[in-house]
Symmetry: D3
Subunit: 164 residues, 6 copies
C-alpha cells in the first residue's frame, strides 16, 4: 500500500501504531472561508459588534468540535489538546468570512486534523445561523496553513507550493 | 434581529421553536470536493478498485457524522434521519474527488445541515487518510445543492443563481 | 417499589415504557443561580455588554447539554427537543447570576430533566470561565419552575408550595 | 480582559494554552445537595438498604459524566481522569441528600470542573428517579470543597472564607 | 447486491431509506451470557444480595448503551427508544450469568440492534468489574430471541430453528 | 469486598485510583466470532472480494468503538489508544466469521476492555448489515486472548487454561 499509512499490507484500515513515537510539542493551523451574500455579511458584522453574535457561537462550536475530532474521523488517535483558538476575519469586498483554527498538543501525533475540524465546524455553524437569509453560501479554501513538531517536521503552505 | 432566526429580540442565541411546524418529508443534498495531488488521486482510485478503500472509509465517516450533526452545531435540532447516502466522483483531469451527501427525514425541520456535515466529515476523512502523501490538499465548493419540503419550499442551487 | 417509576417490581432500574403514552406538546422551565464575588459579577456584566461574553458561552453550553440529557441521565428517554432557550438575570445586590431554561417537545415524555440539565451546565460553564478569579462561587436554588403537558398535568412551583 | 483566562485580548473565547504547564498530580473535591420531601427521603433510604438503588444509579451517572466534562463545558481541556469517587450522605433531619465527588489526575490542568460536573449529574439523576413522587425538589450548595496541585496551589473552602 | 439492504447497486454502504415505512410499535428481545469462574460467580451473587452491585452497574451500562446504538453501528438509524429493560439470571451449575435486554419503540425501524447492543455492553461491564479476579471469562450465545412489529413480522428464535 | 477492585469498602462503585501506576506500554488482544447462515457467509465473502464490503464497515465500527470504550463501560478510565487493529478470518466449514482486535497504549491502565469492545461492536455491525438475510446469527467465544504490560503481567489464554 505504497503511500498510505492508514492501511496494513492487506489494505485493511488500521489506526496506526504511534506507541513508540516521541512526545513532542505539536502545533497546527488550518484555515478556510465561507462566501455569503451582502445581506448576511452585514448582519454578521453588525451582530458581532452589537448583539446576535454569530461568530462567537461559531467559535465555541469549532473549539468543541476540535476536541472531538477523534470521534468523527475513524482512524484519528484520541488525544488531549492543550490549546485551541479560532479567529475570524471579515473580508468586506468579497463578502467572505475567513476562519483560522490553531490547535496544540504535547503528544505523539500531529493535530492538523483537529485544526481542520475546528475550521469546518465553525464554518458550518455560520452557515446554520445565516441559512434563513441565504441558502447559496459556499465554504471553500479549507486547508492546512502550518504544522510544527513531530517527525515530518515543519510544513508551511506558502513554502510548500513555492517548491512545487 | 432582522434576518436571523437563531437569535431572540435581545440578540441571545436560541434553538428556534419548531413545535408547531408540520411533520413533512424533507430532503437535502449537499456537495463539496477535495483537490489532491496526482499521487494521492491515483492511490485513492487504485485503492477503491482493489484494496485500501479510502472512499469506503470516508463514506462511513460521513454517514455517521450526519447522524450526529445536532451534537456539533449548537442550535441545530436533534432529529432522526431516515436516510443518508454519500457518493463520490473522481474527476481525473483536475485530481478532484467530489462528494455528494443526501439526507432525508420525516419531521419538523430541514436536513440541509446534516447533508453539509456529511460532506465535510467525508472530505476530512479523505484528507486524514492521504495526508502522509500530501499536506497541500484543499477542500472547497461545499454548498447546498437542493432542498425539498418544509415551509421554505424547494431550493435548487442552479435556479437560485440564475435568478440573482 | 411504591412511589418509584424507574424500578420494576424486583427493584431493578428500568427505562419506563412510554410507548403507549400520547404525543402531546410538553414544556418545562427550570431555574437556578450562581453566587459570585463582586469582582466576578462586575467582570461578567462588563463582558456581556462589551467583550468576553461569559453568558453567551454559557448559553450555548446549556442549550447543547439540554439536547444530550438522555446521554447523561441513565433512565431518561432519548427525545427530540423542538425548542430550548436559556436566559440570565444579573442580580446586582447579591452578586447572583440567575439562569432560566425552557425546553419544549411534541412527544411522549416530559422535558423537565432537559430544562434542569440546561440550567446546570450553563451554571457550570459560568463557574469554569470565572474560576481563575474566584473559587468560592456556589450554585444553588436549582429547581423546576413550571411544567406543562402530559398526564401529570400542570405543575407550577409557587402553587405547589402554597398547597403544602 | 482583566481577570478572565478564557478570553484573549480581543475578548474572544479560547481554550487556554496549557502545553507548557507541568504534569503534576491534581485532585479536587466538590459537593452539593438535593432537598427532597420526607416521602422521597424515606424511599431513597429504603431503596439503598434493600432494592431499587437510587444512589447506586446516581453514583454511576456522576462518574460517567465526570469523564465527559470536557464535552459539556466548552473551554475545558480534554483530560484523562485517573480516579473518580462519589459519596452520598443522607441528612435525616432536613431530608437532604448530600453528594461529594472527588476527581484525580496526573496532568496539566486542574480537575475541579470534573468534580463539580460529577456532583451536578449525580444530583440530577436523583431528581430524575424521584420526580414522580415530588417535583418540588431543589438542588443547592454546589461548590468546590478542596483543590490540590498545580500552580494555583491548595484551595480549601473553609479556609478561603475565613480569610475573606 | 442480492440479500444486502445496506448497500446500493454499486456496493456502496448506505443508511437505508425508511422515510415511507409505517410508524408501528416495534419490540425486540436479545440475550447472551458470560461464563465466569466460581470465585467470580459467588462474588457477583453475594454483591447483588448485599453490597458491591455488579449487575446493577451492568444494567445501567446496558440501558445507556442501547440508547446510543445508532452512534456505534454505522448504518443504524437514530431512534428514540420508548422502553429498555435488562434482566440477569444467575445459572449456578455452570457459573453462567445470562443477560436479557428488551427494547421498544413506536417508529419506522426495528430495535433488534438496540437490544443486542444492550446485552453486549452489559456483559462487557460484568467483565470489566470482575476481570481483576478472572481474565478467562467468555461471552457467548448472544442472539436475538424475539422481534415484533414492522414489515418483516414476528420472529421467534425457537420457531425459526424448528423450521430449518 | 474481597476480589473486587471496582468497589470501595462500603461496596460503592468507584473508578479505581491509578494516579500512581507506572506509565508502561500495554497491549491486549481479544477475539470473538459470529456464526451465520451459508447464504450470509457467501454474501460477505463475495462482498469483501468485490463490492459491498461488510467486513470493511465492521472494521471501522470496531476501531471507532474501541476508542470510546470509556464512555460505554461505567468504571473504565478514559485513555488514549496509540494503536487499534481489527482482523477477520472467514471459517468456511462452519460459516463462522472470527474477529480479532488488538489495542495498544502507553499509559497507566490496561486496554483489554478496549480490545473486547472493538470485537463486540465489529460483530454487532456484521449482524446489522446481514440481518435482512438471517436473524438467527449468533455471536460467541468472545474473550481475551493476550495481555501485556502493567503490574498484573503477561496473560495468555492458552497458558491460563492449561494451568487450571
Amino acid at each position: 500500500m505504497s503511500g498510505f499509512t492508514h492501511f496494513d499490507a492487506q489494505g485493511n484500515a488500521i489506526m496506526v501504531d504511534v506507541t513508540d513515537k516521541n512526545i513532542t510539542e505539536r502545533c497546527a493551523t488550518a484555515s478556510g472561508c465561507i462566501r455569503v451574500s451582502r445581506e448576511v455579511f452585514d448582519a454578521v458584522k453588525d451582530g458581532t459588534a452589537k448583539k446576535g453574535d454569530v461568530l462567537g457561537t461559531a467559535r465555541i462550536a469549532g473549539i468543541m468540535a476540535a476536541k472531538r475530532t477523534w470521534e468523527l474521523i475513524p482512524l484519528c488517535h484520541p488525544l488531549m489538546l492543550t490549546k485551541v483558538t479560532i479567529d475570524f476575519v471579515m473580508e468586506e469586498e468579497t463578502c467572505t468570512i475567513r476562519c483560522c483554527c490553531t490547535a496544540k498538543l504535547s503528544g505523539r501525533t500531529g493535530v492538523e486534523m483537529e485544526a481542520l475540524t475546528g475550521v469546518n465546524v465553525a464554518l458550518l455553524t455560520i452557515y446554520d445561523m445565516c441559512k434563513a437569509m441565504d441558502r447559496g453560501m459556499e465554504m471553500g479554501e479549507i486547508h492546512l496553513e502550518e504544522k510544527m513538531g513531530g517527525k515530518s517536521g515543519h510544513f508551511q503552505r506558502t513554502e510548500y507550493f513555492e517548491k512545487i
